[in-house]
Amino acid sequence: MLSSVVTGFGKTTMNLSQRKSIFRMLILAALILGCITFTPLVIPYGKYEPALFHFPYTLWTGLIVTLLFVLLTWIAIRIHPGKGEDES
């Protein structure tokens, strides 16, 4: 499956059902990421250590979560089952 994802970026080597199942996995990953955001793993009350590149804890963890959402979106547009449907 993973090799399909890797070779499928930007190409059409995956069939429709593979694309559908990977897209569903991405939706699940986005939901999990959304849930994790509101746990002490990302937003511990009153804690700002450890810092990363001098950024307080919640800021850098929040930055990583946001980047992960963008990364998921980037993967999603490449394997989306409806990709190419409305090209004009």
Partner: protein
């Protein structure tokens, strides 16, 4: 600074004029005027989406939120925007697929067609009106207060508001949606450049990012974690905000329209990813401006902080560019919202194109005047008012999602949940109902109510179908 302001301001107005004139064609169709002929590319798409979404709220509201409530503001907006760009792909695909079979003139008309009933369209339009007009008004007010404070005595506060609305109406009425999209692109670029110039100045004044955060730790360490010094960023507040913001492309018509009019799905995808990066870059700069304010303007009022940090602590040219940027930001969101109301109104009208166009233009004028009048009675809490607008329109999410996602005609019963949710929210905003029940925020509870109600409608429909 005045000289720079005149030069840069003139260039900006000239750019708006060019955008309007280039978009004007005598023989254009109604769809070209209202929806830019469904042909917006990814670059212009991301800039218009960003300009319509961020605006004065990001320029003035977010630095102030970081200054007073701390780094939890990143979770409030940036993480939520991250979730939103993912939703654009999922929702964008489905609505564009549906639009291919039904056509699209505006969300209200789209809903009326899918439900085969006028109620959903009216409910959506009323909600948009109730929550977009005050949001547009607060931006007009924010910018007019800012300008009248900066040019003390030059013009009365209300005249700045009239100037903004006047310019907005002129280029929207001449150029239509295409002119708005092009001007959004100009404004989005100005916003990005200005906000980073100011952010860099704020970092440089402390020497480094490390020194900036060390200074904040010394002054008010509670700003560096949630829930912040005022206890705003609770888990419930952040979850409710996340839902409200993620649903923006579904329920704020000016942004739903932009999802639909993008040229094709590939362009939509590029737009979504670019928007996510744009959001990270732009919000990151407001962190530095806010932290700068936390140290240098600890107890100052919002107006004093913004005037100082955005204008008077900057080099003259940057201060002048900031003024133009603020003006542009206010203009872009306000006209996106007012024009969206016009589009919604148009989507429910019947008659010849000429009559609809005339009535829509009259509608645009009336909406702008209402926003102008409202702007004289609004409060100054930009970021929180923006959130209220997102929360209010998000009550319509079940109505829109059900219409877009179900293959058969959606059942009207879902309207009950959205309408009652909207009524409860309004009553709590006017303090007739409490804003918290037990330990739970009312908006948080309303999302649970809407989710349960929508699930109930789906299960009931499925059971009835099997019988």
């Amino acid at each position: 600074m005045i000289t720079w302001l005149i030069i840069l301001g003139s260039l900006f107005i000239l750019a708006l004029l060019v955008a309007s004139v280039r978009s004007y064609h005598k023989k254009r169709t109604l769809d070209e005027f209202m929806l830019a002929g469904f042909n917006i590319g990814p670059v212009i798409g991301v800039l218009t989406f960003a300009a319509a979404l961020f605006s004065a709220f990001i320029f003035m509201g977010m630095p102030d939120m970081f200054r007073t409530d701390g780094v939890g503001a990143w979770i409030f907006l940036a993480v939520s925007d991250g979730g939103m760009v993912f939703l654009i792909i999922w929702f964008g695909y489905h609505i564009r697929k549906k639009v291919k079979t039904t056509g699209f003139r505006g969300v209200s008309g789209f809903l009326t067609g899918l439900y085969e009933h006028k109620l959903p369209g009216y409910l959506f339009f009323i909600t948009a009106f109730l929550f977009l007009v005050p949001y547009a008004a607060i931006q007009i007010r924010g910018i007019s207060i800012f300008f009248s404070a900066t040019f003390e005595g030059a013009l009365p506060e209300w005249s700045w508001a009239i100037i903004i609305v006047g310019i907005m109406l002129v280029y929207a009425e001449i150029g239509g949606f295409r002119a708005i999209v092009f001007s959004d692109a100009i404004q989005g670029t100005v916003l990005l450049v200005v906000i980073w110039l100011i952010g860099i100045t704020c970092i440089c004044s402390f020497g480094s990012v490390e020194s900036l955060f060390t200074a904040v730790e010394r002054v008010k360490p509670s700003l560096l974690s949630v829930p912040g010094p005022n206890g705003l960023f609770t888990v419930q507040f952040l979850i409710a905000s996340f839902i409200a913001i993620v649903l923006i492309p579904v329920t704020q018509p000016q942004l739903t329209t932009r999802v639909v009019v993008i040229r094709n799905f590939r362009s939509l995808g590029r737009m979504a990813v670019s928007l996510g990066i744009f959001a990270i870059v732009i919000i990151l700069s407001t962190v530095f401006i806010g932290m700068y304010g936390a140290v240098n303007y600890t107890d100052a009022s919002t107006a004093d902080f913004l005037a100082g940090a955005l204008l008077f602590d900057q080099k003259e040219i940057v201060g002048a560019l900031a003024m133009v940027g603020l003006f542009a930001a206010c203009l872009s969101t306000t006209n996106a919202q007012i024009f969206a109301l016009g589009t919604e109104l148009r989507s429910m009208m019947k008659g010849s194109d000429k009559t609809i166009l005339r009535n829509t233009r009259i509608g645009l004028f009336i909406f702008a005047i209402i926003a102008l009048v409202f702007s004289t009675v609004m409060s100054d809490e930009l970021a929180l008012l923006a959130r209220t607008s997102f929360t209010g329109t998000s009550m319509m999410a079940p109505v829109v999602l059900l219409a877009v996602l179900t293959k058969e005609k959606p059942h009207l019963s879902v309207l009950f949940f959205s309408a009652s949710g909207l009524a409860i929210l309004l009553l709590s905003l006017f303090h007739i109902l409490p804003q918290e029940i037990g330990r739970f925020r009312i908006d948080f509870l309303l999302y649970l109510y809407l989710a349960a109600g929508t699930a109930g409608v789906l299960v009931w429909r499925s059971v009835m179908k099997n019988h």
